[in-house]
């Protein structure tokens, strides 16, 4: 049982268990709290339609706020799209997913993934600098923000080191990479990274509320 076997075996297994348990814990911990019905006369029906609408529309800023939020929005999107591409279009990852769920799809060439990965890390660093320098972000940021940043960046960085290697053996780097993913999976449900699913619950709630009122979503 060398480091790689440990990482690929028990470590990842436990991480996935913790991720599933943690996520359900947190989601149900929110959804099962008391729920007050809204008796007000709806201006128009379709609360559910409103929820879906906002889940989609709130991904984009309204023209009124475009100017002020242009910079963080662009960086945020590059980060998210970069993460999405590196995770879901890197062939070894696809093969991993295929091993789990049996579905696979064509991937991108590795050089493209390395490029996207580097850009994503660069943007990640830019966003961290912004969080540490922008007065608003300095005030409202806490341990969760900074640690979640690290936990998200580690898999990317360790993944990018693998082709470069810096003299370290490949299977050691692969093990470290998988352990960093395990850390991410374990940390996610207990941190702001849970916005992975809460963004839908939260946007949906607002969407349903505003759609009933016929207000701008």
């Amino acid at each position: 049982m060398d480091l790689l076997d440990f990482a690929r075996g028990p470590a990842l297994q436990v991480a996935i268990y913790v991720f599933i348990a943690g996520s359900l814990w947190r989601i149900l911990g929110v959804l099962l709290l008391q729920r007050k019905p809204d008796h007000s006369e709806a201006r128009q029906s379709g609360g559910f339609r409103g929820a879906l609408k906002v889940i989609w529309s709130r991904s984009f800023t309204a023209p009124a706020f475009a100017k002020q939020t242009k910079y963080p929005k662009i960086l945020g999107y590059i980060l998210h799209i970069g993460l999405f591409i590196t995770v879901f279009f890197f062939v070894p990852h696809i093969v991993f997913i295929k091993g789990l769920f049996g579905i696979g799809w064509p991937g991108l060439p590795n050089n493209a993934i390395y490029f996207v990965g580097v850009v994503t890390v660069a943007v990640g660093i830019a966003l961290l600098i912004r969080r540490m320098t922008h007065p608003v972000l300095r005030l409202i940021s806490n341990f969760d923000d900074y640690f979640s940043w690290l936990v998200t960046m580690l898999p990317l960085i360790t993944g990018l080191i693998m082709p470069i290697r810096f003299g370290v053996r490949y299977e050691t780097l692969l093990a470290i990479h998988i352990l960093s993913v395990a850390l991410l999976l374990i940390w996610l449900p207990f941190s702001k990274l849970a916005h992975t699913y809460f963004v839908f619950i939260s946007r949906g709630t607002t969407g349903a509320l505003l759609e009933r009122r016929g207000a701008r979503t």
Partner: protein, 450 residues
Amino acid sequence: MKAADVKFDLESKRLSVEKPKARFDKQGDMSDAERVQKAMANFSKDFGTTAAAYLDACIHCGMCAEACHYYVATGDPKYTPVWKLEPFKQAYKRESGPLAPLYRLLGLKKEVTAEQLEEWQHLLYDSCTVCGRCSLICPVGIDIATLVSMARHGMYKAGLVPHELHAVAERAEVDGSPLGITPKLFEQRLEWMEDEHEVDINVDQEKVDVLAVMSSIEIQKYPDAMAATAKILNAAGESWTFRTDGFEATNFGLLSGNLELQKKNSMRIIETAIKVGAKLVLLPECGHAYMALRWMGANIYGKPLPFKVQHISEYLADSLNSGKLKVRKVDKSVTFHDPCQVSRRGGATQAPRDVMKHLGVDFREMQNGGDYNWCCGGGGGVVTIHRADELRYKVFKLKMDQVEATEADALLSSCANCRQSFDDAQNHYNWKYTAESLLELVAENLEDEA
């Protein structure tokens, strides 16, 4: 501070309690521990699924600051909307969040402290008009405005409401209406308006279709609105009445966070409406009144309301669209300030625009007007707080630029509280625009039937 010794300053541009020599921003003589305990109790009441979903979704991206006129005007990071919720969120994470047992066990989230709550009074009251602009920009869709209103419940119970808001709420509890209006006084002013404008104003009729209600600001400062409402309803041939036992539309319970008072105010209108068998309760030109009854009334009542509720601008739009009312053309270029609770939060943005189309005015929409409109800075009870004046004037500059950019002849709105804060700021900057009432403009230009 007893309700009786509250003196009103009804002469200045902005109606409120007289500027207090000594401020009583802490009510009752509870110990700090008691205040915290009261705050936590009433925060907990609101930690339902909705609040929980929001408070667990925040990713500290700080974008809500870019939408908040207090941050944009001052650049002070403490006005970041989600920062205003910090004690509320801290209490949630520690008390009711899914990970609450973990946080308590590991001591990761500290108890909210009294000092913290006192410091946050300025953030939750003076610097938040609950305008909801931040709720529109939040990328994870958190309705921050709703949470601020919720947070005020805890603040009220902890006796940490700003002096003026508390004073007005106290009088409203006693008199049934803030600004010292008693039913008697309301009736006298109606009669005064009846003579002044030679219009029949029905008062205390028994069975009617439409129950009209007024805001104390209109009754005291813009009484013509009462006459205008009467003209409109008579012209529309409605069977309507004012009721002295249920005339007050504003709800300082909602603004101060006093849930009991909010319930009392709303129930007074609901019961009166049921008594007279009204099919429609017509809300006056007031933003928070619309939010309080149109969207919160039924939930206060506990079941759907047995009558429709409309803001006067909605009624005017429907009547003009259906031809029940006809107006003369008004040759003027006009821009419109949307009251946040009616347009952005209430979804009735189109109504005033329909009315202005019928009036044939040269309507010039403000840049980012309508749903993304800058707030007048006076809503949510902020206009009554003297301590917040400097901040309000600074924030109002945004509004001034927005209006001036349209180069319209006149500025219209349909909320008395907005008009009041416009008047006060106009006086402060001796600004050329005066906020006029959409309702009164329509009333003046009704096509008088043969």
